[in-house]
Amino acid sequence: MGLIQKSQLKSPWVLHFDCGSCNGCDIEILAALTPKFDLERFGIVNIGDPKQADVLLVTGPANKRNHRVLKNLYNQMPQPKLVIAVGTCACTGGVFHNCPNVLGGVDNVVPVDVYVPGCAVRPEQIIDAVVLALNKLAGLAQSEEEE
């Protein structure tokens, strides 16, 4: 594995977007950054700027209003990028499945790499998800190398 690839795995900067969630998962994302869970161990920084982010953490179901924002943010992130759908409602719409303004999971709008079930998810699950996402990235890099 090249140095650059290693760096890509060691430094996932995240962009968090609340896509109409109930805040439950958002506060758990924030909690994951705090001393007890400390996502920065993995080099994760909540960067807040799509242009510098590698991982998009989406919470909440996509709805008819905010899907264009989600799309925009995704488009403003340079490759390689990953999307993690955090929480049941980001995966499928969950408890909001029959709300009239809800489109369902965020995968209706942007391609999702990792789904995290839970309502709200636990910080440990977020850590697991990031690890999974990075594995995927490593896999991608590997397969590119083989080509």
Binding site: F17, D49, P50, K51, R68, V69, L70, N72, L73, N75, Q76
Partner: protein, 640 residues
């Protein structure tokens, strides 16, 4: 040799006057263009030729002396007339204050007789070079500018003849002034520059132009009165009004008062506090006028005078006060410049500030500081000429002087803007000449006694940070362009514009890069006449003994860096993406975002002016008060 020199002197003084008169009389655009261009070329040529000449003094024919006398009185009466016509008490009073004493001095005392009326030495040649090279370029530039200007004003009848007459006359008068050794001649040419300035400011004939011109006139007349004061002092103490005599005489308090008068005259011309308002008011004139006034003529007259007398004042308190005036002016104008909206006002404040810096250096009056002053003067003239010309072009193109309208100019006027950007950089960034000058100045300050240097150090620290601030934010504002969509914009410019701007730009860059050469060949010989040399410069390096400025390596590194940067960024390339707008970007419209009720709004940026933090009115008041106080101190100092 001497004859050759005298011819050149006559040429530089006489030719502008003659061709000015010709342009006044002869009609037609082509004739005027040819006339002006040829004059410009000859002026540049003869001033460069003067470089090879060693110092000499001489008296022109008696007829010239008489002519000067007659013309001087004519001039004073004209000023009186202007004063009455515009009902301006200061002008009337100040003209009378000159008429009467001059008459007394001339007819009763017969004091104007001087051995060596003209003196051509290193300093005057240096000044002549600046005046003619930069001045000529500006005059050529004015050819295009005035066409457009009159087009904008929709004038029926061209008034350009008059305009170029005064422009050229101003050059001639400046040349005459720097050659003059007789205070009376100096005074005469001085008054002519005041006249030209007055006429040029009111050129457009608007009410505002007229009032500002009158203000400029009375402030300039203060200088005239001060000159007369010095003449009397000279006559009574030394018995001569030759500068050479006065300067070599034993310093007595009375003589110092005479020098104080000269300093006062210089302040008024160089728009130091409290006289800064005339230069700001002069903005109403067509831009080439500003370019000329600010860069090579007019304000430089004051600087010249200070530089001329400085060696005589070494170690006096008067010198310190002069430095204080300069330092205060430098700092306050830099702060004031931050909040200016009108492009030319920013430039004007910068001019006043830089003149302040030069005067401060002259006032500190060590070999090192004097060197700094000369370097600053040299590079300031070039850069300021360049900037004003650029500002003029922009003004005519976008029809506004408000720098808020300059946003992203680089997308609209790539050529002019690039010239402006480099021009601005030459004003305050390394490795350009102005910064070299400033750097020498700092070295100079710290090599003076602390008790005196400390206030000045603080003023300089603040002033130079503020300078960086106001230039930088303006420079940055020109580049505010989100996309390179308008990249294809081709700018068409008349040749004189292109020639003038490119010419000065090239001069500025080449001379900055060749600063050690300039210092060795122009500056140091000049310093050597009055001081012990303190700056040594080799091919690559300028060394003050306190620090060393590696001009060559710096330039090489900079150029290498730019090339490398272009290479790497070209190779990396990149996809241009719209700005971050919280995710609500409107597709295909780079600066729009969705807002309430799905409406589209445009993101915009303002300029940086700290308008609520800097209180211009009270700062201005403060400036005037401190200026007046310092001048009072300047006269009181001798008594102590």
């Amino acid at each position: 040799m001497a004859i050759y020199g005298q011819t050149l002197v006559a040429l530089t003084v006489g030719l502008p006057v003659v061709s000015g008169l010709a342009s006044l009389v002869l009609p037609g655009k082509t004739i005027r263009s040819v006339l002006v261009s040829v004059t410009a070329l000859v002026l540049i040529g003869s001033s460069v030729s003067l470089l090879g000449i060693s110092e000499f003094t001489y008296n022109p024919g008696h007829i010239y002396e008489t002519a000067v006398l007659v013309l001087d009185f004519a001039l004073l009466f004209y000023f009186l007339y202007v004063g009455m016509k515009s009902k301006s008490l200061p002008v009337i009073g100040l003209s009378l204050l000159q008429l009467v004493p001059v008459a007394y001095f001339e007819f009763v005392l017969h004091g104007v007789k001087v051995e060596n009326i003209l003196l051509v030495d290193r300093l005057s040649v240096f000044l002549v070079l600046i005046v003619n090279v930069v001045g000529s370029v500006v005059v050529v530039y004015a050819l295009s500018y005035m066409e457009e200007h009159e087009h904008h004003l929709q004038l029926k009848e061209s008034r350009q003849g008059r305009f170029f007459f005064f422009m050229l006359l101003l050059l001639g008068a400046m040349n005459g002034m720097v050659y003059s050794n007789s205070l009376y001649w100096l005074y005469f040419f001085w008054e002519i520059t005041s006249l030209c300035c007055y006429e040029l400011i009111r050129h457009d004939g608007t009410a505002e132009a007229n009032t500002n011109a009158v203000t400029a006139l009375w402030m300039a007349l203060i200088g005239g009165v001060a000159f007369i004061g010095t003449m009397f002092v000279g006559y009574y103490t030394v018995g001569s009004i030759a500068l050479t005599k006065i300067m070599t005489a034993q310093l007595t308090p009375i003589l110092l008062v005479g020098f104080a008068f000269l300093a006062l005259a210089a302040f008024s011309k160089s728009a130091q506090f409290p006289f800064h308002s005339w230069l700001l008011g002069a903005m109403v004139a067509p831009t080439p006028v500003s370019a000329l006034l600010h860069s090579s003529t007019m304000v430089n007259a004051g600087i010249y005078l200070i530089l001329r007398i400085a060696p005589a004042l070494k170690g006096t308190y008067l010198s310190l006060v002069i430095a204080a005036v300069g330092a205060v002016t430098f700092t306050l104008t830099a702060i004031l410049a931050i909040r200016q909206k009108v492009s030319k006002r920013v430039l004007a404040f910068s001019t006043i500030g830089n003149l302040g810096l030069i005067i401060m250096c002259a006032g500190i009056n060590t070999s090192l500081s004097y060197t700094a002053a000369v370097i600053l003067l040299f590079f300031h003239s070039i850069s300021k000429g360049l900037l004003f010309m650029g500002a003029g072009v922009v003004e005519n193109r976008i029809n506004s002087r408000n720098i808020e309208d300059w946003e992203g100019l680089i997308g609209k006027l790539p050529f002019t803007t690039t010239v402006m950007l480099v021009g601005m950089a030459t004003m305050f960034l390394p490795p350009f000449g102005m910064l070299l000058g400033k750097w020498v100045a700092v070295d100079a300050i710290i090599s003076t006694p602390l008790a005196f240097a400390l206030p000045i150090i603080i003023l300089i620290c603040i002033g130079s940070a503020a300078t960086t601030f106001f230039w930088g934010k303006w420079l940055g504002y020109l580049t505010v362009t989100p996309m390179t969509a308008q990249k294809q914009v081709k700018e068409t410019l008349p040749t004189p514009y292109r020639f003038a701007m490119m010419g000065l730009l090239a001069v500025s860059i080449v001379f900055s890069a060749g600063a050690p050469y300039i210092i060795n060949n122009f500056v140091n010989p000049l310093i050597g006449e009055a001081y012990k040399l303190s700056v040594t410069s080799t091919l690559m390096e300028v060394n003050t003994g306190i620090g060393s400025f590696l001009v060559g390596p710096f330039w090489i590194a900079t150029v290498a860096m730019v090339l490398l940067g272009v290479m790497i960024t070209k190779k990396k390339g990149g996809v241009i993406v719209p700005a971050y707008l919280g995710g609500e970007n409107v597709p295909e419209k780079p600066l729009m975002f969705f807002t309430t009720a799905d409406g589209e709004a445009e993101a915009s940026v303002s300029t940086v002016m700290l308008q609520s933090e800097i209180d211009e009115a009270s700062l201005n008041k403060f400036a005037v008060i401190i200026g007046v106080l310092l001048i009072i101190v300047m006269f009181l100092v001798e008594v102590i």
